[in-house]
Amino acid sequence: MSLLEADTRRVPSGPAKALYLNWPLVVLIVAVAGAGFVMLTSVAGGSVDRWAEPQMERFALGLAVMFVVAMVPVGLWRAVSPAAYLVSMALLVAVEVAGTTGMGAQRWIDLGVVRLQPSELAKVTLVMMLAAYYAWLAPERVSRPQWILPPLVLIALPTALVLKQPDLGTAILLVAGGAVVMFAAGVSWWYFGAVAAAGAGLVSAVFTSRGTPWQLLKDYQFRRIDTFLDPASDPLGAGYHITQSKIALGSGGWTGRGFMQGTQSRLNFLPEKHTDFIFTTLAEEFGFVGAASLLALYMGIVGFCLVSAMQNRDRFGALLTLGVATTFFLFFAVNMAMVMGLAPVVGVPLPLVSYGGSAMLVLMAAFGLVQSAHVHKPRPR
């Protein structure tokens, strides 16, 4: 008997679906968000209503979105993937045209209720689109050059638009997220090797372009790279954040200084203390135990997603789950590496913890997709 026939019959339906949710995953997500509320309260100097409360409201909304998205059959998500991708591309173009300028970069569309950041949305829709593409493509064709080209275009389009904003952090995450779906779909190792070589070439091109009229990165992006390579070169200028961040983080010790006891008063003057640098405060106040626990929670989320993907015989669901999980992984890994001085400051928030509305909602919707793939996966007898 064909597996395909078995597929459809055993998929749960109705309210019973809720029982098939990946509940450990939900618990882990709530735990991480809870850590976020504690830290937002701490950086606001003990005030709950400054950041923690709006964040809680958004998280509650995010949970609702996740459950709703999870209840929709994954096949439907697969069907709307191309449309979702096109809409997010249109929004990216729209920010170019009509977006409001925030922090020196055009990133938002003001919808009145929320400020939509289309680049956030693009991270998810790109993964959806690629997963749908490989689910449609016959597996034996994935490594043929003519079938490699479409996904490259699909990745290049949002990346180019995001780079133009300019938002280097998101561009890197888009490329990495797209590459992961291609890799998981089974594209030959050779291609990745070739791209790695080409990437090395590009990096050297970027550096040689510096100071020339065709300079490939903005000045501030070059400065961030400089600072990353040698923070001590400019301890009171651009390197200030990294140096202070490392001192605060390191001085946390084993168990940290305790809730709201971070003595590194200068953290109060980090402009992004409640967004990109929130991990620093956590590590200072809760020490290695706290920081490693958060890392473990994050890895737990990624782990449950990976297991769910490996058990999923629906190609779209599996690829989607892998793509979302890896994008999520890249978020926190890049952020943590950044505040620990292992990566340049590229402006990537700590997912579920950093203050911010549209990132949180989009991430929760993405977890909804993972849950949908989990609930509706084929269950052979």
């Binding site: 100097g45 890799f183 390191g250 200068r266 993907a309 890994a333 620990m340």
Partner: protein, 640 residues
């Protein structure tokens, strides 16, 4: 079957690759964990030394708040030195011991200590908390000399807002006060300055509306401190940007006179406006209050006195008060009728003391009637029946449209708190607001500025200036910002027939200067300064009763609007005396005194008054409590 096999292979390959990915991710996470361990466990001592022993500390420097000057450069809001004593918990060790030692040296109120204790508990250990402020220089010196015995306690000098002209400008500048938790949540402002305990921000008036410009930007000092907390050296300093200075359009001497003159009554307000630029040269309210009391946080008893006062000293009635404009509204009806071609300058209407509408009678204020009334006489003697007739001809929508062109029903963007839009009703308005249809009787009430019509003294002054000039003058309160003059806005032609405007002006001239005019007794005698105006008396209750016999709250409002000099208008004035009785007896004399002071720039000579009024005026001037200690300063210090 082979297809299934292919699918199985593909799924297996996804799983294999997922394993590879997972392995890679575990590897990266391991690297991150290793780095954490390295930094937080192995190198922790090093970093802790960096943090504790030789740490880079950042102290905010509060910028000087922008100063506010009057139109001639007299300071109306400035920054005075404030000596205070602060404590840093981290450096103090035993806070209670530190308090005890401090209190052995200087007197500190128990309430202040209690407040500081609460503040300390709420804040991070390194944030300086003010124990007591507004101290004498001797106290500061005592603390400084005994510094070794007072770890963590330091004297400090900051700036605190002061209003040298006190109550005169209470409603215009408003006041600053310590930032509250409520302010923090409401403003959604990330400025680190707001985290400074007791940082002063604008709460009302210009101080609030121009908060952003006046505040400036925080400066910072990056300093290296050793384990004892002593400053080793300064690494960098960013002075920040001091707040922008503002220059108001208000003239302090006139403002002072207006406040003093209004204070002779119970509850009143007045606006004086330059008819060509729209400059508000005086915005007065009585009673008023001392804004300096709010700067450090007002006592509960003082605040209760202000809020419990039935004459509402805290309200800026000149812009917040919405009153039925009464007969001062008749110019609008006249112009609407003239522009609609439904009235000519010579036409007469018969006033028999009332107008019948259905089975209702609408009375003229003059029971016996005015007889045959033409346009000029209708304004001069303020005949109501004339306007009942016009209202029926013209209809409310055209009256309302005309009134809006003259500023009624419109919220002017002047930087004072709670500026009202008033109410200029029409058919759409009553449908949207009360879900009723407009009745003809409503038009009749509106035509004499009663019923639903509500206007503020500011709107009445704007109306008068627009009548005087025929231009869309827009009121403004700020003349220069950071030493840069701001161009006046508005001023384009209103598009009303100049001939029609002239008819209305002549009517207003007759009100003040013809012996039968309702404001004849309050005229300006000297011909070059002649004033044209209009009285208004608006009912608070519907029954017509003698004002002397009812409690204050139920008496009529007295209004007067006017402009002068008649031939070459400079100022428009509006006066509203709340529950003051009749416009000609209660409001017109006040407006005349204010207008004369504005034109003369000082107490006017008695020759400007009609002979009969002079003895009373002389006595009134003698009783005024005017200020003479104005300090002119340099202005135009250009600050970006």
């Amino acid at each position: 079957m082979s297809r299934d096999t292919a699918r199985n292979d593909a799924a297996a390959r996804v799983s294999r690759r997922a394993l590879v990915l997972g392995a890679g991710q575990v590897g990266v996470a391991g690297l991150l964990g290793w780095r954490m361990r390295q930094m937080q466990v192995e190198q922790a001592e090093e970093f802790r030394l960096l943090a504790e022993e030789n740490r880079v500390n950042m102290r905010l420097i509060a910028p000087g708040r922008g100063l506010i000057f009057d139109r001639n450069g007299i300071p109306v809001a400035e920054n005075a030195q404030n000596y205070r004593i602060v404590i840093v918990r981290e450096d103090a060790g035993d806070v209670e011991e530190a308090f005890a030692r401090l209190r052995r040296l200087i007197y500190v109120d128990e309430a202040e200590i209690a407040r500081a204790r609460r503040e300390i508990a709420r804040r991070s250990p390194f944030v300086p908390v003010t124990i007591t402020d507004q101290r004498s220089w001797e106290d500061i010196a005592t603390v400084a000399v005994n510094a070794p015995a007072l770890p963590g306690i330091t004297p400090d000098v900051g700036l605190s807002r002061a209003y040298p002209l006190g109550p005169d400008y209470a409603h215009v500048t408003g006041y600053v006060g310590p930032v509250s938790d409520y302010d923090l949540t409401r403003m959604e402002d990330d400025d680190p300055l707001l985290q400074i305990p007791k940082f002063q921000i604008g709460k009302t008036g210009v101080e609030q509306k121009y908060e952003h410009a006046l505040r400036g930007e925080a400066g910072s000092r990056r300093i290296e401190v050793n384990a004892a907390g002593r400053v080793m050296r300064e690494l960098g300093r960013d002075e920040g940007v001091p707040g922008t200075d503002l220059q108001l359009t208000v003239e302090s001497r006139l403002q002072n006179f207006v406040e003093a003159r209004l204070a002779l009554g119970l509850s009143a307000s007045a606006v004086v406006m330059d008819v060509t630029t729209g400059d508000l040269v005086a915005v007065g309210n009585a009673p008023t209050f001392d804004p300096n009391k709010f700067v450090r946080g007002i006592s509960v008893a003082d605040y209760a006195d202000l809020t419990g006062n039935k004459y509402r000293p805290l309200a800026n009635k000149a812009v917040q008060g919405a009153y039925p404009p009464g007969s001062t509204f008749k110019m609008m009806v006249t112009l609407a009728a003239l522009e609609a071609g439904l009235l000519s300058s010579t036409e007469t209407i018969y006033c028999g003391g009332y107008q019948r509408l259905g089975n209702r009678r609408f009375h003229c204020w003059k029971r016996g009637g005015h007889g045959h009334v033409n346009l000029e006489k209708s304004l001069q003697q303020s005949c109501d029946v004339f306007y009942y007739e016009l209202a029926q001809r013209v209809g409310i929508d055209r009256i309302a449209a005309m009134a809006r062109r003259f500023g009624h029903g419109q919220r002017f963007d002047v930087p004072m708190s709670a500026v009202t839009a008033g109410v200029m009703p029409d058919k759409a308005w009553i449908r949207d607001t009360y879900n009723q249809s407009w009745r003809v009787g409503d038009s009749l009430n509106a035509s004499i500025g009663q019923g639903y019509v509500l206007s503020s003294p500011l709107q009445l002054a704007v109306m008068t200036a627009r009548i005087a000039t025929g231009r869309a003058v827009v009121p403004r309160l700020v003349r220069a910002r950071g030493g840069i003059e701001l161009p006046p806005e508005g001023g384009e032609e209103l598009g009303v027939d100049p001939g029609h405007l002239d008819l209305v002006r002549q009517g207003m001239d007759a009100v003040s200067n013809s012996p039968r005019g309702t404001a004849y007794r309050s005229r300006i005698e000297s011909e070059p300064l002649r004033m044209a105006g209009k009285t208004g008396t608006s009912q608070v209750r519907s029954a017509i009763v003698d004002n002397a016999e009812v409690p204050w709250e139920e008496r009529d409002h007295a209004l007067f609007v006017g402009y002068a000099p008649f031939e070459a208008p400079r100022y428009a004035v509006s006066v509203v005396v709340e529950h003051g009785g009749g416009g000609s007896s209660a409001a017109a004399p006040v407006a005349r005194d204010i207008m004369l002071f504005a034109l003369r720039g000082e107490l006017p000579p008695l020759d400007d008054y009609p002979a009969a009024a002079r003895p009373g005026i002389e006595e009134m001037f003698a009783g005024l409590d005017l200020r003479h200690d104005f300090r002119p300063t340099r202005i135009g210090r250009s600050r970006a």
